[in-house]
């Protein structure tokens, strides 16, 4: 190779490398976000606010779940749902001179992806079901100043929905608001009325006790008197058994423990009520299909061929299954076990929106948060994204589309009685330690008292290591 051609080659390669590397650089230089120097809107998403006062610029919103920008058709129901471009168009209409860009991702490893995005400032608004971790690291913006500035009415949300997402940042003394709810979720007890009829057993009460469930489940385990097929009284997801045990514990007057940060946390895994609750769960497994610990044997629940009377934990999406199969009248929902004194019971769930501390357009991001609590946004979620979202605002209770689904009354009530703030022990090892030991009891390897004593010791030791 001659000197000249080598030089040419070297130059070309260097140029190409520079281009490749500059293409890789997706830093702030590529962002079109305008630094917002204008005052924030004072009336939320209301059109009454003069356009000139509204923040402008590009807003990047991250969404986790089964979202798509364009319309899509559900392969089971055949129903076409509108994509999130509906939200983009409405927001851009309400906030002229803005542009919304979505970063859509699935549920797989969403926490790790969100963490990366937050650290690199890849979006302004984030959907953060795992909010605790991000707030601990100071990656999210506290919302109280924005709420105060706009006198934003938190009373519009269903009972407990805002409290459920409260968490503690590095400098907080009490849990604070870092996220506003936009997706509601809860677990409910669901039962098959046809099997109850077949066995001549009274339906579950609206808010049953564990004793009532066990009593009725025991009556419906065996050969169905009408069909002759094997029936089971109840089912639950084996890997979620610890959550059911905690729910029973709450109904018996116990609690998971106290504190929020690891350093302040005191667990009550081996309390008398926990031992009692686990013993009751051990009774429950007698009425469940053989594969229940592996999540097997209940595949036909919510279908025509069902052979299980009660499911202890079902997500609200079951109403979609019923609608798809035309079984709305066959299945009914009941509230999770609750503490009769406090009226609370069940693990808080759902998704909030939060503003990234690294966002360069926080005022506009705040407008999006308010927009997510509007009836327009919530109705879109309810109408088009029902499989992954329940409404979080009180106004939803009056929507005819909510009222016409019988089970929604229970679901909305359940969302209003969830234990808040979320069980904070579930953000780390105590959750897995408790789960493992509950499983060992249900497999017959340990007694409830021994397993919970072990769980308490291991989890307390782990907590001590977090100081």
């Amino acid at each position: 190779m001659s000197n000249k051609s080598t030089l040419k080659m070297t130059g070309t390669l260097l140029l190409a490398s520079t281009m490749i590397l500059s293409a890789c650089n997706n830093g702030n230089s590529n962002q079109t976000v305008k630094a917002n120097t204008e005052p924030a809107a004072t009336e939320g998403a209301s059109n009454a606010v003069p356009a000139a006062e509204k923040p402008t610029g590009t807003l990047k919103v991250q969404l986790v779940g089964d979202f798509s920008l364009e319309d899509k058709t559900d392969p089971i129901s055949g129903k076409t749902s509108k994509g999130v471009k509906v939200l983009k168009e409405e927001f851009e209409k309400q906030y002229p001179d803005t542009s919304v860009e979505f970063v859509l991702m699935g549920w797989d490893n969403y926490n790790e992806k969100t963490q990366t995005m937050l650290q690199s400032g890849a979006a302004d608004v984030y959907q953060v079901p795992g909010i605790t971790t991000f707030v601990e690291q100071g990656l999210l913006e506290p919302l109280q100043p924005y709420i105060d500035k706009d006198s934003y009415d938190l009373g519009k949300y269903l009972n407990g929905q805002v409290e459920g997402w409260k968490v503690m940042g590095p400098d907080d003394q009490e849990p604070q608001i870092y996220g506003l709810p936009f997706i509601g979720d809860a677990r409910v007890i669901v039962y098959d009325r046809q099997l109850f009829d077949d066995w001549g057993v009274d339906y579950l009460s609206e808010s049953p006790t564990i004793e009532e469930v066990l009593d009725k489940a025991s009556k419906m385990t065996g050969k169905n008197p009408k069909t002759g097929e094997q029936n089971y009284g109840l089912t639950f997801k084996g890997s979620d058994a610890a959550d059911s045990v905690m729910n029973i514990n709450e109904s018996l007057g116990g609690q998971w423990g106290t504190g929020f940060l690891w350093k302040d946390m005191k667990l009550e895994f081996n309390s008398d009520t926990m031992v009692q609750a686990l013993d009751l769960m051990k009774d429950a497994i007698k009425y469940a299909p053989e594969g229940v610990m592996a999540g097997q044997g209940a595949e036909n629940f919510l279908t025509e061929k069902n052979n299980i009377a009660i499911n202890l934990r079902e997500s609200p999406g079951f109403i979609n299954n019923l609608a798809n199969l035309g079984l709305e009248d066959r299945y009914e929902a009941a509230l999770l076990f609750k503490n009769q004194k406090t009226g609370m019971g069940g693990m808080f769930a759902g998704s909030p929106f939060a503003i990234g501390a690294s966002s360069s357009n926080k005022d506009l991001a705040w407008e999006w948060l308010k927009f997510s609590g509007s009836e327009f946004f919530q109705q879109y979620m309810w109408e088009e994204q029902r499989s992954q979202s329940m409404p979080v605002i009180k106004a939803a209770e009056n929507w005819s589309s909510v009222q016409e689904i019988r089970q929604m009354d229970t679901i909305v009530k359940q969302m209003g009685q969830l234990w808040t703030p979320r069980y904070p022990y579930r953000s780390g090892q105590p959750r897995y330690i408790l789960s493992e030991n509950v499983e060992r009891v249900l497999l017959g390897e340990l007694s409830s008292a021994d397993a919970l004593k072990k769980a308490q010791e291991e989890a307390t030791k782990w907590l001590a290591g977090q100081q």
Binding site: L14, N109, N111, E136, E290, V292, M293, G428, R431, E436
Partner: protein
């Protein structure tokens, strides 16, 4: 070489020196160009391999969201953890039985296929198909195969055995994972063995036949010794892959390797602590411990099998 070039005149020495230098530069130029071609790959390795490795090492000495330095505490925590050692036991248990079953069975099937006059390609494809399948998809299918009312139990019951609730009990769940891994890996073992079998010269067999050696003796004294290389490779690859086992156990047993952590593997431990609890420091320490395990096992394996790498 001409005479005037070999003369030891001052001018001649200088000329030769210049010539040597010029040749050296010419020789170097293409080398530099090749390094430039390699540059994108080298940058890729630096950014996506060396940096994460170094960062993971740094993280392994830190704790918490503020990443404060804790020295060897994470390593001590991992090595003191009963869950970690149980995950090591699970990993070794599944891997040992996977290798003990898949390698001999794969070898025998390869020998049988190799002797086929017709349909060899059909069987090669048939056995290799599972290996092409994503382990995640395969595990999903096995959730149905291992169902209490699934096909495996159906066959067992036809043979007069009792129904096994495979994934609901710790021991049977581990065997469920072993069956899946053997099914998935068998095709690879067969293909490697077949490649080696076909590379053995037919002259050996012809000579042995002339000498009157039986088919079994030929297999014992010709086939087996010639197969040791690929069997060793399979053994070592299997060990390394087995120690890194995650997807199949995760699909069958979930994040915690249920029931009762019976399917919790070392990588599962790393995943749970890292992504399930945000203990990135501890997870990094566990990753380095796993790396050390693999290093030691591979070293021992190469020594035992006298493999030259």
């Amino acid at each position: 070489m001409s005479d005037h070039m070999t003369k030891a005149t001052t001018l001649g020495v200088l000329d030769r020196k210049l010539l040597r230098n010029r040749n050296k530069i010419i020789r170097r130029q293409p080398t530099l160009a090749w390094y430039l071609f390699l540059l994108p790959t080298l940058i890729g390795i630096a950014v996506f391999m060396i940096y994460p490795l170094a960062e993971s090492l740094r993280l392994s000495f830190t704790k918490g969201a503020d990443e404060h330095y804790v020295g060897l505490e994470n390593y001590a925590s991992v090595l003191e953890s009963g869950t970690f050692w149980y995950s090591v036991y699970n990993t070794l248990y599944i891997t040992v039985f996977q290798l003990l079953i898949a390698i001999p069975v794969g070898f025998i099937i390869a020998c049988l296929i190799n002797n086929l006059r017709r349909g060899a390609n059909f069987f090669k494809v048939l056995f290799y198909l599972p290996n092409v399948t994503s382990i995640v998809a395969a595990a999903t299918v096995f959730l149905a195969v291992l169902h209490p009312d699934g096909p495996l139990n159906y066959v067992l019951q036809l043979l007069g055995f009792e129904k096994i609730v495979w994934l609901s009990q710790p021991l049977s769940a581990k065997w469920g994972a072993i069956i899946l891994s053997v099914w998935h890996w068998l095709g690879f073992v067969i293909i490697i063995n077949l490649a080696n079998l076909q590379a053995i010269s037919s002259d050996y067999y012809e000579a042995a036949s002339i000498d009157g050696a039986s088919r079994f003796r030929q297999w014992q004294y010709i086939t087996l010794p010639n197969m040791l290389g690929s069997l060793t490779v399979l053994f070592i690859i299997g060990w390394i892959g087995g120690l890194q086992r995650f997807s199949d156990a995760y699909m069958l047993g979930g994040l915690q390797g249920s029931p009762a952590r019976s399917l919790h593997t070392v990588v599962g431990f790393i995943f749970e602590r890292g992504f399930g609890g945000n203990e990135y420091g501890l997870a990094s320490a566990a990753s380095y411990i796993l790396f050390f395990f693999i290093l030691v096992f591979t070293y021992i394996n190469t020594k035992v099998t006298k493999m030259k790498i």
